[in-house]
């Protein structure tokens, strides 16, 4: 009896902390993955459109802060975030747009949702989102709610799913549309 009481005492305060533990474990696993490449399929459903839009390409991550999303279908596009720099390139149109992330406070949280997760940088993630984790370190789901009200007006929730140190699904719930990006790790 006494042993069970002790056990309960040990477990009770730990119960709320368990989600935090899981988040920390997932972050640690992600931080241990300095480089990764994955093929992605992105599907957007928008209320203004009568059919979903599909895009395909390759997602590449390199620690500490370089994330590249290279779209090959339906057109070539390169989105690169490195440091404080956001670069959007459309070779078919010859456009190249470079924005300091600092000048785009409404984009930064969306970038960090993925980049800080891949970096396993819990502090940056927490600066922009309220993060909660569910599942197990082997099969986890992190839910992010943007802290900025202005950002929340456009994006209410971002859900990330993955296994160990790999990010597999990014699902963005917008005002009244949603998009789902599924990644398949490449060697």
């Amino acid at each position: 009896m006494r042993r069970r009481a002790l056990l309960a005492a040990a477990l009770l305060p730990a119960a709320p902390a368990r989600a935090q533990d899981l988040l920390a474990q997932v972050m640690a696993a992600l931080a241990a993955t300095p480089e990764s490449r994955a093929a992605f399929v992105e599907e957007k459903e928008l209320p203004e459109l009568d059919r979903p839009l599909v895009a395909r390409g390759v997602l590449a991550w390199r620690a500490p802060d370089r994330l590249e999303k290279r779209t090959t279908e339906p057109f070539q596009e390169r989105l690169l975030v490195e440091g404080d720099r956001l670069l959007l390139e459309r070779p078919d149109r010859g456009t190249r747009q470079e924005t300091p992330l600092d000048a785009a406070p409404e984009i930064r949280p969306l970038v960090e949702a993925i980049r800080a997760t891949l970096a396993g940088d819990a502090a940056t993630l927490a600066a922009h989102h309220e993060a909660s984790a569910a599942g197990t370190p082997a099969r986890w789901r992190i839910t992010l709610v943007p802290r900025s009200a202005r950002v929340r007006a456009a994006v209410q929730r971002i859900t990330l799913e993955g296994e160990h140190g790999r990010l597999l699904v990014v699902e963005t719930q917008g005002r009244d549309g949603r998009s789902r990006l599924s990644a398949t790790p490449l060697p």
């Binding site: 203004e48 459109l49 839009l53 057109f75 600092d102 984009i107 917008g174 549309g177």
Partner: protein
């Protein structure tokens, strides 16, 4: 001790009153006070800009000495505090971020405001292309942005509007705020109060410092601040510090010298009293007439101390053994009276010159000299004991030197003529044409201001175009026409003007008239949508907004209460003025002034002001005016001399005239650039030279003792003046330096000339 009591009491009283007056009289440092009354429209415009233009309301702040993140935090906290203070029309520490209400207003009015509103943009093919662009954007990674505006603004009127606004110089951003190398966070503030209101400007500078302190700067973070309020305070402080140092030093030296000569602290006090009273009278007279005292007038007045000291010195030095001070004062009075009258006459024309600064100088000096002379004549004898100690005689060799000079008097006209010819051959004197060099603002602060303004991208405006119209709409329309003409002619590469921020109502109406009506637009949109995946109602916000824009009509300058950012950008470029409206155009990259003038001729009434050339012309005009008034003063002095001394008058006048000639020749040799301050000092110098000539002329062959006393008085006067002005020449404040050097050189020359030209007499005993 009892017999000294009245004098001591009077001294204490005068000193206390002077100190009190100094604490309560506001000092100003506005260089524009020393510029002449405008003769042309260009100079009138420039004077208004210098005195109260947008530039005079701009404060620039830099925060440095900490890590970037801390600097950014301080910048944001300081900006929030300053915005809340209500003192500023604009506080910017990063790119324009319209608040939600303003963004909503601008978005609603985008079709009237945006240059992208053209009839072509609303044809079916153009709409088809716009919809394809929206679809493309939705497929891309920029989808969140595209979705936000694309369905209400598929033609991109709003982005085009914002693009038109951000053609400015770009400053690097860190953590969302402006950051220059260093790192140094930058803020730009525009006060609501005008630049003419020194109290409000000082309050604004104080608010900026308080906001910085309230932001709880950590570590070594420090604030650099520049602006009119800071300038005024720094200039006043610099002048005060210079004057304080010089007054202490020169008072000590003069006192030591007089103590040696008079052998009595009592007589020393007697000299100080008229001087103090003179300074007090000058200060109060200027304060009463102008409501404030210009820093330069104050500095000038303080230097006058050395000259006003001549009067009591002359009274005391002329006392013969056994004579009472009262009798001596009565005996010297006719000469003293003529000396004061000529000095004041020389200064009087400045009162009528029309320069506020020069008028202050004239009034300060004139009132001070009069008060000092009256005090020397009336107050001094009453306060001195009946039999003060005798003066220490001058060494015999000094009298021999003077006698030697007198023996060579025939060379004087040749010397003066030679110098005059040499000056003529050397060409016109170099004039000071850089207005910054005249400013009493310390150079370090001016450099900081230049650096901060450069970093924050506030351009150093060299060229300003301006046009007026009876109403705001007319001014905006004229600005539009002028901008179009200038840009089309390639006379400028970039042009900031009010219609860039708010187009004229006529332009806005023309744009709105170009929008198709609701039914036409809906039909074209439906046709453009064929084959694309958009649902039928997807672009309903677009149709609604176009109809609303057509109904709302143009946005006018009086309806900008909801748009503070736009209003703040517009205010410096478009403003009411004397019942009319003035629009300013600021060109960049204007290399060819002739091409600019040719292009500007298209718009009637467009004024081109070349700031640098115009300022130089005004400074030149200022010097010319000072010369004219100086000549008028000289004529007055000559008339007085002729009336007082008859045919000896012209010979007496040769002393100040020759001293001026020699002083300016020496300034030329020293490489000094002549400014209006040198010329005002010349007026004073002429007065001093006149005094020397008059008192030396009291030497007669009949009474050798009286001759020695006359010479002794002038020597004492000269030494005290040299001790005062010699130190002033070492000051950094341009006005004090210029006057000190001029008077110093001139006084020495005047003394030598006065000795040489004094009546011949037998060698002294």
């Amino acid at each position: 001790m009892r017999r000294h009591a009245p004098l001591l009491l009077a001294l204490l009283l005068a000193a206390a009153t002077f100190a009190l007056a100094l604490r309560h009289v506001p000092l100003r440092a506005d260089i524009a006070d020393f510029l002449p009354v405008a003769q042309t429209e260009e100079s009138a415009f420039l004077l208004r800009e210098l005195r109260g233009g947008a530039g005079t309301r701009l404060l620039v702040a830099g925060i440095e000495g900490a890590a970037e993140a801390e600097l950014a935090r301080l910048s944001r906290a300081m900006a929030d505090g300053l915005r809340a203070s209500g003192l500023f029309a604009l506080v910017a520490n990063g790119p324009p971020q319209p608040a939600d209400a303003e963004a909503a207003l601008l978005f609603a009015r985008r079709y009237a405001l945006s240059p992208a509103t053209t009839p072509e943009a609303f044809t079916e093919p153009a709409l088809r292309a716009a919809l394809e662009t929206v679809l493309d954007g939705l497929r891309s990674s920029a989808e969140p942005l595209v979705r936000r505006y694309g369905f209400a603004d598929p033609t991109g009127a709003f982005p085009a509007l914002l693009r038109g606004w951000t053609q400015e110089h770009r400053i690097a951003l860190r953590d969302g705020v402006w950051m220059a190398d260093g790192p140094r966070a930058l803020l730009l503030m525009e006060t609501r109060a005008g630049g003419m209101d020194p109290d409000a400007q000082a309050a604004a500078a104080e608010a900026a410092r308080a906001a910085f302190a309230a932001a709880a700067p950590a570590g070594g973070a420090r604030l650099l601040l520049s602006g009119p309020g800071v300038f005024a305070a720094a200039a006043a402080e610099a002048i005060r510090a210079d004057v304080r140092l010089v007054s202490i030093l020169s008072a000590t030296l003069v006192a030591a010298f007089l103590l040696w000569r008079y052998r009595s602290p009592l007589l020393l006090g007697a000299v100080a009293l008229p001087v103090l009273l003179g300074a007090l009278a000058g200060l109060l007279a200027v304060q009463a007439a102008f409501g404030h005292v210009h820093g330069a007038a104050f500095g000038f007045g303080m230097t006058m101390l050395g000259v006003a000291a001549d009067y009591p010195i002359v009274v005391v030095a002329h006392r013969a053994p056994g004579e009472t001070a009262r009798d001596a004062a009565r005996r010297v009075w006719p000469t003293l009276r003529l000396a004061v009258a000529t000095s004041v006459a020389g200064l009087t024309p400045m009162l009528a010159s029309g320069f506020p600064g020069l008028a202050q100088l004239g009034l300060f000096a004139g009132a001070g000299l009069l008060a000092a002379a009256l005090a020397a004549r009336l107050l001094l004898p009453a306060l001195l004991p009946a039999a003060p100690p005798a003066l220490r005689p001058l060494p015999g060799w000094s009298l021999a030197v003077v006698a030697g000079l007198g023996a060579r008097r025939r060379f004087v006209p040749w010397l003066l003529a030679g110098v005059a010819v040499a000056l003529l051959i050397a060409g016109a004197p170099r004039l000071e044409r850089d207005i910054a060099a005249l400013s009493p603002v310390p150079e370090a602060l001016r450099d900081l201001d230049g650096t901060l303004r450069g970093q924050v991208g506030a351009p150093d405006v060299r060229l300003v175009l301006s046009v007026t119209a009876p109403d705001a709409e007319g001014a905006l329309a004229a600005a539009e026409r002028a901008a179009a003409a200038l840009l089309a002619a390639g006379a400028a590469t970039v042009l900031d003007h009010p219609a860039r921020w708010l187009p004229s109502a006529a332009t806005q109406r023309a744009r709105l008239d170009a929008l198709p009506d609701a039914a036409t637009l809906a039909a074209r949109l439906d046709a453009a949508r064929a084959g694309l995946p958009f649902r039928a109602g997807a672009f309903a916000p677009f149709l609604e907004d176009v109809a609303a824009a057509r109904a709302a009509g143009p946005l006018t300058p009086d309806a900008l209460a909801e748009a503070p950012l736009l209003a703040a950008r517009l205010a410096p470029l478009l403003r009411p003025e004397n019942g009319a409206w003035r629009a300013l155009l600021l060109p960049e990259g204007a290399r060819d002034l002739a091409a600019l003038r040719a292009a500007a001729a298209v718009v009637p009434g467009l004024l081109i002001v070349d700031i640098k050339a115009e300022t130089e012309a005004m400074l030149d005009a200022g010097i010319a005016a000072a010369l004219r008034w100086g000549a008028a003063g000289a004529a007055l002095v000559l008339a007085l001399l002729l009336a007082g001394r008859g045919r000896a008058g012209p010979r007496l006048a040769l002393v100040p005239a020759g001293a001026l000639l020699l002083a300016f020749a020496a300034l030329h040799l020293l490489g000094e650039r002549i400014s209006v301050f040198h010329l005002t000092a010349a007026l004073l110098l002429a007065g001093v030279g006149m005094d020397y000539a008059l008192f030396m002329s009291r030497m007669t062959q009949e009474d050798a003792a009286e001759d020695a006393r006359a010479l002794g008085a002038v020597v004492t006067c000269m030494v005290t003046t040299l001790l005062t002005f010699g130190l002033l020449a070492l000051c950094r404040t341009p006005v004090l330096h210029a006057m000190g050097l001029t008077v110093c050189l001139g006084v020495a020359a005047a003394f030598l000339l006065a000795c040489a030209l004094a009546p011949p007499r037998p060698a002294p005993r």
